[in-house]
């Protein structure tokens, strides 16, 4: 048998400990979601799992909360997905096209345009939230998906990363494509997009999670309960149910797990792409 080194044991213990600390809250959520609200109220988090998960799950997904009865877990999940995907795809498309224009076309002020885009990194949403709100409101886009997504879609980060990537694509490849008769649009679609796929995957992970976790902007823009996203909606549930009624711990805990899940799945899904793209190294 191979002797296991002392350091290996220490290393692994640290890693395992770290993982446990990260996972523990999720396990607690699950535990509290598996018992009745009364029990949770009485004992707090415990060690014993109950059998209430299916019941709480059904409540969380299909039972409306709030006044209008429109924000079920399902509708919030749907809204969140639209926000996450719209956000990620929009940012990637816009960022790629902006970077393409900056890198490949002899625009007079390309460098300046790039730096202007870049300085918007200094102006995150929180700084410009009032004017942004006003514009969205004047355009009549409150409580719409467009209103949720479009004002956030321009991305200096994505533009920057794609610009760096495009600049690393060898000049000869572009020239070969020109001789092969690929015009600007064909070159973009046939060559640049497939070459960027690992970059796209990386951007997608970052942007999806970023979009999914938006809290402030959806809170401003959506007053209609049917438009609530998960991240915004859970808070609402826990709040409204602190009355004479028992708080619905089970339901909100399930919703929280559901809120964690898609970003995790996206990361896992794209990670395999990521690794594949990196190891196949075909540039």
């Amino acid at each position: 048998m191979k002797r296991i080194k002392f350091e290996t044991i220490v290393d692994h213990s640290i890693l395992i400990l770290g993982s446990l600390i990260m996972i523990l809250p999720v396990v607690m959520l699950l535990q509290m979601a598996s018992t009745t609200d009364l029990e949770t109220m009485r004992n707090g988090p415990g060690l014993v799992f109950g059998d209430q998960i299916p019941i709480n799950f059904e409540k969380a997904m299909f039972e409306a909360s709030g006044f209008s009865g429109e924000n079920t877990g399902l509708s919030m999940l749907y809204n969140s997905l639209i926000l996450g995907f719209g956000f990620a795809i929009g940012k990637i498309v816009i960022g790629m096209m902006a970077a393409y224009a900056i890198v490949y076309f002899r625009l007079k002020f390309a460098t300046m345009a790039f730096w202007i885009i870049f300085t918007t990194l200094l102006l995150p949403l929180e700084v410009r939230i009032l004017p942004s709100y006003e514009i969205v409101q004047k355009l009549g886009m409150l409580n719409t998906y467009q209103g949720l997504i479009i004002p956030l879609i321009a991305s200096a980060t994505a533009t920057f990363f794609f610009r760096q990537f495009f600049r690393s694509v060898p000049e000869e490849l572009i020239e070969a494509a020109r001789i092969d008769g690929a015009g600007p649009i064909k070159f973009f679609i046939d060559i640049l997009v497939p070459l960027s796929r690992t970059m796209i995957a990386a951007m997608f992970i970052i942007m999806f999670v970023y979009g999914w976790n938006q809290y402030l902007w959806p809170t401003m823009i959506t007053t209609d309960e049917g438009m609530f996203t998960l991240v915004r909606g859970i808070k609402q549930i826990t709040q409204t149910l602190e009355g004479t009624n028992l708080p619905e711990y089970g339901k909100s805990n399930i919703l929280q797990i559901i809120a964690i899940l898609p970003p995790v799945l996206i990361v896992i899904f794209f990670q395999s792409w990521f690794v594949k793209g990196l190891t196949e190294s075909d540039k």
């Binding site: 060898p170 000869e172 490849l173 020239e175 070969a176 494509a177 020109r178 001789i179 092969d180 008769g181 690929a182 064909k186 046939d190 060559i191 497939p194 070459l195 796929r197 196949e280 190294s281 075909d282 540039k283």
Partner: protein, 345 residues
């Protein structure tokens, strides 16, 4: 197949650097022309102007019977092979070769057939479904060739296509490219800084230096009858010996001894190929050998002749040792150059 004519073609880069001084020459149909010269002399710039990848500052470029100065590269009916192959990394060999045809909206089955033909010609059949990253350097080079020939262009352009390969493969590919060009009969312009490649492949060589054409001629002309000291020292390994000598009343003197007769007086640059100096016990000149370079079939003797360094190349049968050596020089092997301009006299 087309004739290519350059008429005072000139390139000035936006920063004001004149990379190609006005150049005029004609490449005949089916001819294989090699542009050779040291790094930075403007070979690639010239080729890229022909390809349409670089704007022409002045002059006309004819391919076939068209003036193509402003024609898009895709419409010039050319194909180009790049130094780094420039294969599309995400496409299979098949798609790489067929991409240009696909863009011309040619039917799928026709493309397939042409790709197969090209692959046959280049021994690539087994690799059609691989990605470039799964090929060796030589195979990638062949794919790049395939991409060029599949389009039946009237002009091939090569920019140092072999410089990323190891010496052995380079020799092999050199022969393959040349044979292929012969077979297809396509007019070709080939850029290299390697004078061996230039000598072995070219029908005609164009020697460039500092943006200017020094000489245009067949390999043998360029080698045996260089138009300038630059060409003399650039072509051939080891290069031509160049000696500063004086003339007195039509007699060329080296170390106080008459070497030959050449009209005029004053100083002159004397050129002689290393293989034209022969060790000979009865020879009229004495040189002092300082170092012997062993190359197998040949030996290069580094020597001093009347205070100036000189190299002579002898076959392996000639015994060689350092010290004084008597040599004879073939009288018709001597070339004379103007010491100021470097031009042949």
């Amino acid at each position: 197949m087309a004739q290519v004519t350059l008429n005072a073609l000139r390139k000035v880069y936006p920063n004001g650097f004149e990379a190609v001084k006005p150049a005029s020459f004609t490449i005949e149909e089916g001819e294989f022309v090699v542009l050779v010269g040291p790094s930075g002399c403007g070979k690639s710039t010239m080729l890229r102007m022909i390809a349409g990848l670089e704007e022409i500052t002045e002059g006309d470029l004819h391919i076939g019977d068209r003036v193509v100065n402003t024609v898009d590269p895709a419409d010039r009916d050319i194909a180009m092979v790049f130094q780094n192959y420039a294969l599309y990394p995400h496409m299979t060999v098949r798609k790489n070769i067929g991409y240009g045809l696909k863009n011309r909206k040619i039917a799928k089955d026709v493309i397939n057939q042409k790709v197969e033909e090209a692959a046959n010609l280049l021994n690539l059949n087994d690799y059609l479904d691989r990605k470039p990253s799964q090929l060796s350097g030589g195979q990638r080079q062949r794919v790049a060739m395939g991409r060029a020939i599949v389009r039946d262009p009237s002009l091939f352009l090569f920019d140092e296509p072999l410089s990323n390969l190891d010496a052995k493969l380079r020799n092999q590919m050199r022969i393959e490219i040349k044979a292929l060009q012969r077979r297809l009969g396509v007019t070709s312009v080939y850029v290299t800084h390697d004078q061996v490649e230039a000598m072995t492949m070219a029908d005609r060589i164009i020697v460039m230096n500092g943006g200017e054409i020094e000489q245009i001629g067949t390999p043998s002309e360029v080698y045996h009858s260089p138009a300038s000291t630059f060409v003399a020292s650039f072509m051939g390994a080891p290069p031509m010996n160049l000696l500063d000598v004086s003339r007195e009343n039509g007699a060329v003197m080296v170390g106080g001894q008459q070497v030959a007769e050449f009209t005029g007086s004053g100083s002159v640059t004397l050129g002689v190929r290393p293989e034209d100096i022969l060790p000979d016990a009865n020879g009229s000149f004495e040189i002092n050998v300082t170092l012997i370079e062993e190359l197998g079939a040949h030996r290069i003797l580094h020597a001093v002749w009347a205070g100036q360094p000189i190299m002579i190349s002898v076959t392996k049968d000639v015994a060689a040792e350092t010290g004084p050596l008597r040599v004879a020089i073939k009288p018709d092997a001597l070339k004379y150059f103007d010491p100021q301009t470097g031009r042949r006299l």
